[in-house]
């Protein structure tokens, strides 16, 4: 008898569990539908959205890696840009949206995906379906964006991506009209430019270490091609597992091979120890390119706290304070927010204009309708910190920020900062210094 | 044909022979006692017969079939069941489920659920455990846990039953009950080999006794022969000819 009652009790619990979310959303829906009736005296003007009177802010959602392996990446560059923008816009009273005939402040909902794609996917759908965000900001990392893009596309949500770019993503862009990619990637003028730079200095051989994931494979592969194009012989292309921790032997082998160009296409957990090992055993090839990781302030500070130590290391970088007064201002503001160690001369220059593009598109179209915004962004040029900024569209598909808007591709540590030393010859390029080749010796310990 | 027969059965642990070249024969319907001081290799011999270990070297036959390299579950399905020195009941399962497990799996032919339940209830009745059929086995008294082990072994419908220190820890009345039980199991036509320290039980119940010492068989015979054997008294019963409990 008691057992039966117990089972009933458990059953009720299960039902309650299952029903709880339903009831909760039920209530939520009710609130929203009854909201206009609370103001029975006014009806929504013709052609205006249903929440004309009740809209309090522009709701922006993002699923970010606040914890887990990607947290350092997510915390360093794009997160602060969002934060900075939020403060700036809200200090100004918000963004003027014509549909509502007033300025609407912005509000972020940021969930922690704990660096897990399954969680990120679910939270993205929660943001879209449950929180009904007006705008969706991108997840962190190429893999995550690769998974998020089809979902944003499926729900017709504009997705301008930040920390991620890959040739594979470009390949899938034609089927993803709502997705815009901002960060340049391997063959998107970074490695071609770098290969040309090396060839111009007369480099003959290259040695590549890459991380055994999407990023490493792609950069390793493209570097192989590009070096081949300019006649540089790739001696080795070694790939290391993500969780590997000791690089002494790899660096020694590289040293023994005596290459002109040494490439490390990996993240900070590999980039930093490899650099340390190079210093320790005195491996100093004429050109050293590393990234992502070497493009951050912390890279310079990691070897005794003085960025002069990494003098001559080459990395991916788009702009620095010298690029333009606007960038000087932006980098100063970012430095105040996150400190010099977290400045990112590669990503930040491309994340900064994203929010400007969105803001300008909203003001220009006067709506938060993602379809309208998408079409506007796809077809217009914007005046951002980069100057004239626009996307190359893939037929009916998504967009890729064109190389002509890139202020630079390749940076190099010189006198304790990353100078922009390479970037092809398109209009926006602003080089801030000459590329030093061969790089100077590591300082004596 | 002997129901159970061993030739030169030997088992080494490390460098030490726990069972050392033991020959034994058990006739159909007999009750054979296996005695010897602690560490003499009695339980190891049981483990060899029931295939927990394989003898090396040595051969064990059951009804003339070589069972030296069989697995425990095969041995059981051939008709040898056993109990354990330290009871190994399924403590969290109800008593009836313990017995049903034996009834289900003990035979190579499949048994229907209804039949298994029916047989198990009968066995519990026979063992005087019907009142506690639905109690978790761990809540039984030690004596009842031992009876449950026997019931579970009997549920596999064995022809040969190995009882390992069934009386240990039982009081006088319980020992008497256990002796009765053994006799009645024997009357069912089941051959029994038992390890026992309670001499009264051994002397009264067994048809024949095998004495092990340091892994070797030192004597074999009827209870009377054993009680008067010089060598047995020497190592086991105490030097002054009294059958003291070891």
């Amino acid at each position: 008898m008691k057992k039966r009652l117990l089972i009933i009790l458990i059953g009720i619990c299960v039902v309650a569990m299952m029903a709880a979310p339903l009831i909760m959303t039920g209530c939520g829906e009710e609130k929203e539908t009854t909201a206009p009736t609370t103001q029975p005296t006014t009806t929504v003007p013709e052609g205006k959205p249903a929440d004309y009177y009740t809209k309090e802010y522009i709701l922006i959602g993002a699923s970010r890696p606040l914890s887990g392996a990607n947290a350092p990446i997510g915390d360093a560059a794009y997160g602060p840009v969002m934060k900075m923008w939020e403060e700036k816009v809200n200090a100004d009273g918000g963004i003027f949206v014509a549909d509502y005939d007033r300025k609407l402040p912005i509000k972020f909902i940021i969930y922690d995906d704990a660096t897990d794609i399954g969680t990120m996917v679910r939270l993205t759908e929660k943001l879209i379906l449950e929180d009904e965000v007006d705008l969706l900001f991108s997840a962190c990392g190429t893999a995550f964006i690769s998974a998020q893009a089809p979902i944003a596309n499926k729900y017709s949500k504009l997705l301008i991506t930040a920390e991620g770019g890959a040739t594979t993503m470009r390949e899938s862009l034609p089927g993803l009209p709502y997705v815009f990619v901002s960060l340049p990637f391997s063959d998107h003028y970074q490695l071609p430019v770098f290969a040309d730079m090396c060839a111009a200095k007369g480099a003959k051989t290259a040695y590549i270490i890459s991380i055994a994931d999407l990023h490493g494979v792609e950069y390793g592969g493209v570097a192989n091609m590009e070096f081949g194009r300019v006649g540089i012989d790739v001696i080795a292309n070694k790939s290391v597992p993500i969780t590997y921790t000791d690089f002494s032997l790899l660096v020694k082998e590289a040293k023994a091979a005596d290459p002109d160009v040494f490439c490390v296409f990996a993240y900070p957990p590999i980039v930093l120890p490899v650099t340390g090992e190079m210093m320790a055993i005195g491996f100093n090839p004429p050109a050293v390119i590393m990234g992502p990781g070497a493009n951050f302030g912390f890279y310079g500070l990691s070897f005794g706290g003085d960025p002069l130590v990494v003098e001559g290391v080459t990395c991916f970088a788009a702009a620095n304070s010298k690029t333009s007064p606007e960038f000087a201002e932006a980098f100063a503001a970012l430095e105040e927010l996150v400190g010099w160690a977290n400045l990112d001369w590669w990503g930040a220059p491309y994340y900064l204009p994203l929010v400007e593009i969105i803001e300008q598109a909203i003001v220009a179209t006067g709506t938060l309708d993602n379809d309208v915004l998408r079409d506007y962004i796809a077809t217009h040029h914007f005046d951002t910190i980069l100057g004239d900024t626009y996307f190359e569209m893939f037929g009916e598909g998504g967009g890729l920020m064109v190389k002509e808007t890139h202020p630079g591709e390749i940076g190099q540590w010189q006198n304790g900062i990353v100078e922009i030393v390479g970037g092809g010859d398109w209009p926006a390029v602003v080089l801030t210094s000459e590329w030093v080749y061969p790089k100077p010796d590591w300082p004596a310990p | 044909m002997y129901i159970l027969e061993g030739e030169g059965v030997t088992k080494y642990f490390g460098g030490l022979a726990a069972v050392d070249g033991v020959d034994f024969r058990v006739d159909q319907g007999e009750v054979v006692g296996l005695i010897g001081p602690n560490g003499a290799g009695k339980t190891t011999l049981f483990n060899l017969i029931s295939a927990t270990y394989s003898p090396k070297p040595g051969i064990i036959r059951f009804k003339d079939i070589d069972i030296t390299h069989k697995k425990p579950y095969q041995i059981c399905r051939m008709g040898i069941a056993r109990t354990f020195q330290m009871v190994k009941i399924f403590g969290n399962l109800p008593v009836i489920e313990n017995v049903r497990a034996g009834a289900f799996f003990g035979k190579s032919t499949s048994v229907s659920s209804a039949n298994a339940t029916k047989d198990s209830l009968e066995l519990l009745e026979y063992m005087g455990l019907s009142q506690v059929a639905n109690t978790p086995a761990r809540d039984l008294t030690l004596a009842n846990q031992k009876r449950l082990e026997v019931a579970r072994a009997l549920a596999t419908k064995p022809e040969l039953l190995l009882l390992d220190e069934m009386m240990a820890g039982l009081n006088q009345a319980e020992v008497a009950g256990a002796m009765q039980l053994i006799t009645s199991i024997k009357d069912r036509g089941i051959t029994i080999v038992m390890i026992e320290h309670v001499m009264k039980a051994i002397m009264n119940v067994c048809d024949r006794i095998i004495v092990l010492h340091h892994g070797k068989k030192i004597a074999e015979g009827t209870p009377q022969e054993i009680a008067t054997s010089e060598s047995v008294i020497e190592v086991y019963l105490g030097e002054d000819h009294h059958a003291g409990s070891e």
Binding site: L66, S67, G68, A69, A71, P72, G74, D75, A76, T115, A212, K238, S239, V240, P241, T243, Y244, T245, D246, S248, L249, L250, K252, E253, A256, P268, P269, L272, P273, G276, E277, M279, A280, I281, G282, G293, F296, F298, L301, S302, F303, G304, G305, A341, N342, P445 | -
Partner: protein, 292 residues
């Protein structure tokens, strides 16, 4: 010297040096498992805490990392000691048997992993941080190794030896060994089992912390870094025999050499090789190379 010999030296000595790091990481975990019977999945988090504390002390206060050892080791020991006294001791009281305790302590240590990692995230932030120390080359027979690696191997051997002597010679050390073999009998000898277990858990945590202090000279830090070291430690202690401290030490060295050899053939297979060897060993000789 001919290049091939240097190369062999590179691999052999490099393997030993790498193994020294692995040994240091694994010894503490082995101790925690061997005596306190906790397979501590949060072991790597203690390494992380040790590393971050060093970074803070070195870069903010300016304390030499080697001096940090003396500060951080005892603090983490205390944390481990108290953790065992409270959490794991309670668990052992509640567990009906050893297997249940093994399972519940694994899960509790998993909970600790989350807690410590999140606290580190709140305290130190998610970003990568790094410093380097003693990062210069030292030549051994023509092969060059970074000094901090030699220092780590030195400490690894030193700590291993000191602990070995502590276990072999001192009263408490003997108590620990006795408790590892048979806790009930040890307590009959007068060993305060709860205290010894907590001590061992504390020592294990302190060794992890010290490993973190030393290893932080070489690697960039972030709060999520611990897990990979936990996994390496598990591989090493299985290799050396669960619970054996000399086993963990030698297992670490062996894994280091295997790592360097595989890396010299195909670095992308190195981690796979670790797991493969580890699982093969579990199948062939679950008690480890030195297990009895």
């Amino acid at each position: 010297m001919p290049e091939s010999i240097v190369n062999i030296l590179d691999i052999a000595i490099g393997g030993l040096l790498l193994g020294g790091i692995y040994a240091l990481i694994a010894m503490g975990m082995s101790l925690q498992y061997g005596v306190a019977r906790v397979l501590n999945f949060s072991h790597g988090e203690f390494i992380m805490v040790g590393a971050f504390s060093t970074l803070t002390l070195y870069t903010v206060v300016g304390i030499n990392p080697l001096i940090c050892l003396v500060i951080i080791g005892p603090v983490i020991f205390l944390i481990g000691f108290l953790l065992h006294r409270t959490l794991f001791h309670q668990l052992s009281l509640r567990a009906p048997n050893a297997d249940a305790y093994a399972a519940s302590s694994i899960l509790a240590s998993f909970g600790l992993l989350f807690i410590i990692q999140n606290l580190a995230l709140l305290g130190w932030g998610a970003d990568y941080q790094a410093y380097t120390y003693l990062n210069f080359g030292v030549s051994i027979g023509g092969a060059i190794f970074s000094a901090n690696k030699l220092v780590i191997l030195g400490f690894s051997i030193g700590i291993g030896l000191i602990f070995y002597i502590f276990l072999a010679r001192t009263r408490t050390g003997k108590g620990i060994r006795a408790a590892a073999q048979d806790p009930a009998t040890a307590s009959l000898m007068g060993v305060n089992i709860n205290r010894v277990l907590a001590l061992c858990f504390g020592f294990g945590a302190a060794m992890a912390g010290i490993a973190g202090v030393l290893y932080s000279m070489r690697i960039p830090l972030n709060p999520a870094m611990g897990t990979q070291y936990t996994i390496i430690a598990i591989i090493v202690i299985v290799l050396g025999g669960l619970g054996s401290i000399p086993g963990a030490f030698i297992g670490g060295l062996i894994l280091g050499i295997i790592g360097e050899v595989v890396t010299s053939i195909d670095p992308s297979l190195s981690m796979a090789a670790y797991y493969f060897i580890f699982m093969l060993l579990l199948l062939v000789r679950p008690k480890g190379i030195f297990g009895k």
